[in-house]
């Protein structure tokens, strides 16, 4: 029972909506191109060596994006060992907090 008087129910997408094999859009293509430029400024051992033009699907893009983001954002996070120890997993809190984007595999 909601504590709110004025409730609007928002339906969930159909279970077939998830499609990580969707070809990447021009937007995501450019996002990974931008990341590949930033990658050239990372220490050699942090680079992927990936040819970003070989990335075709959203799943492949998300893997590359995650790797680079963790390195780029990690430069700042790495300053706090406590944060690094207590929050090792990617986006788990988001999964707990955001029902909107949490769906179980069928």
């Amino acid at each position: 029972m909601s504590k709110h008087a004025y409730v609007v129910t928002v339906p969930k997408p159909h279970h077939t909506a998830y499609n990580p094999d969707r070809p990447i859009s021009d937007l995501v293509k450019n996002q990974i191109l931008h990341l590949s430029v930033a990658e050239q400024h990372l220490d050699t051992h942090h680079r992927t060596g990936k040819d970003v033009h070989s990335i075709k699907t959203e799943r492949e893009a998300s893997e590359y994006i995650a790797h680079l983001t963790s390195k780029l954002h990690g430069k700042e996070k790495g300053k706090s060992k406590a944060v690094k120890k207590t929050k090792p997993a990617r986006s788990k809190p988001a999964q707990r907090s955001s029902k909107a984007n949490r769906r179980k595999k069928k």
Binding site: A17, S62, S70, G74, A100
Partner: protein, 408 residues
């Protein structure tokens, strides 16, 4: 100063992707109650708007927009494509915008006359319960335009910098410029600001200029939720949706929530509702926050309003860069997009009419409110509209304020 403005401590901007005003909210103008228009002040559709197709037939707007995969091709929204959508078949100088080229532009991609008609589809209001509820409960802008008749990156740049530094495309640019980002301006002045990207698999669109050089400006969406709960939200926050479908932890599935065609629009609805609820769920935060939900550009989708002229920002894109054989002086805006300002101090059903807004308004408002306008910025940003005058003296009753619940 109104009570609402006096209480304002946080501004949050959620920028979605690639949907026009008429496509998402134009149907509200067709809703009737007791034989009369329910929302007469909204500048949406009459139901008679049309475009010619490539065979010369008239294609009228239809309430047949669907959540996903209807637009098989990502509709063109680069500068040349948008130019064609705005000016139709007209070329060269001295043209008059007529919004008659959307179907023909989409045909260049679909190569199928019937499929090209889908660019004229709009959503029935009941299909978008979050966006239409927020639009009719708070302040809906009749005239918020994308900053450039072009794609995402240059338009998002206006929300971060008040300019795209002469860019009309998706290129990497503006490192070392004199005009700082709104985040840098805030931090330099001892204020707080953050960009929250959804997660690392989705990341941000502000990579080369901000993430690479100022990673401390960034947080994840989980941190946004946590900051809302604990009352640690910065003075200014910019929230980015998930830009791709990807596996989640523990076998979960993360759907893109940006609403970029052909991503699922319902998932974006849920994301908007989730951001709203995160603020609404903390009483102290709710009373002291203004949330702006806005789309970066129209994504090639039909809108009937001709984009107006604007104050140039001092930059010029050359003919070779625009792709239309003409230079662009940043002296007119892009296609109209949905924009909604949310606060308990906004009277129900506010429609902002007769004033022109664009994304440069965002850093302008934040700079004026938190920094007394003290920052290096373009003439265009300085002269752009502000919107905090919409906050009134009266805080609405809690029972009068919507809450979203996410069904199965």
């Amino acid at each position: 100063m109104t009570v609402g403005l006096d209480k304002l401590k946080h501004i949050v901007v959620l920028m979605m992707e690639n949907r026009s005003f008429d496509h998402m909210l134009g149907g509200l103008s067709l809703v009737t109650e007791g034989g009369k228009k329910k929302y007469p002040k909204i500048n949406g559709l009459t139901g008679k708007e049309s475009n010619p197709d490539s065979d010369g037939a008239t294609v009228v707007v239809q309430p047949q927009a669907d959540y996903q995969d209807q637009l098989v091709h990502d509709p063109d929204h680069h500068f040349p494509g948008t130019d064609m959508q705005i000016f139709g078949d007209q070329k060269g100088t001295g043209r008059a915008a007529n919004m008659q080229g959307f179907v023909k532009s989409y045909f260049t991609q679909t190569k199928d006359v019937k499929l090209s008609h889908e660019i004229m589809n709009y959503f029935k209001p009941e299909k978008l319960p979050v966006l239409t509820t927020l639009a009719t409960e708070f302040a809906l802008f009749n005239s918020w335009f994308s900053s450039i008749p072009g794609p995402t990156i240059c338009n998002r740049a206006f929300s971060h910098y008040g300019t795209s530094f002469g860019q009309v495309g998706m290129n990497i640019f503006y490192i070392g410029r004199d005009i700082g980002s709104i985040y840098g301006r805030m931090i330099d002045a001892g204020k707080t600001a953050k960009i929250y990207y959804y997660d690392q698999q989705s990341s941000t669109m502000e990579i080369v200029n901000l993430l690479q050089h100022q990673p401390q400006l960034f947080g994840s969406y989980s941190q946004f939720i946590s900051d809302c709960k604990t009352g640690k939200l910065p003075d200014y926050s910019f929230v980015e949706p998930a830009y791709n479908d990807h596996p989640g932890p523990g076998g979960g599935q993360i759907l893109a929530s940006d609403q970029h065609p052909t991503h699922n629009v319902q998932e974006g609805e849920r994301f908007i509702g989730n951001v709203y609820n995160a603020i609404r769920g903390n009483d102290a935060l709710w009373e002291s926050t203004a949330l702006l939900v806005v789309y970066d550009e129209h994504g090639g989708l039909y809108d009937h309003v001709v984009p107006p002229a604007c104050t140039p920002d001092g930059f010029k894109a050359q003919a070779g860069d625009t792709g239309i054989g003409l230079p662009f002086a940043f002296d007119r805006l892009g296609v109209r997009v949905p924009a909604i300002l949310i606060s308990p101090f906004i009277p129900k059903g506010t429609v902002v009419d007769g004033r022109i807004f664009e994304h440069a308004c965002i850093p302008n408002v934040v700079t004026n409110h938190f920094l007394n306008g003290d920052a290096a910025r373009t003439v265009r940003e300085k002269g752009s509209e502000t919107f905090l005058d919409l906050l009134s003296d009266d805080m609405r009753d809690d029972n009068d304020i919507p809450w979203f619940e996410f069904g199965g």
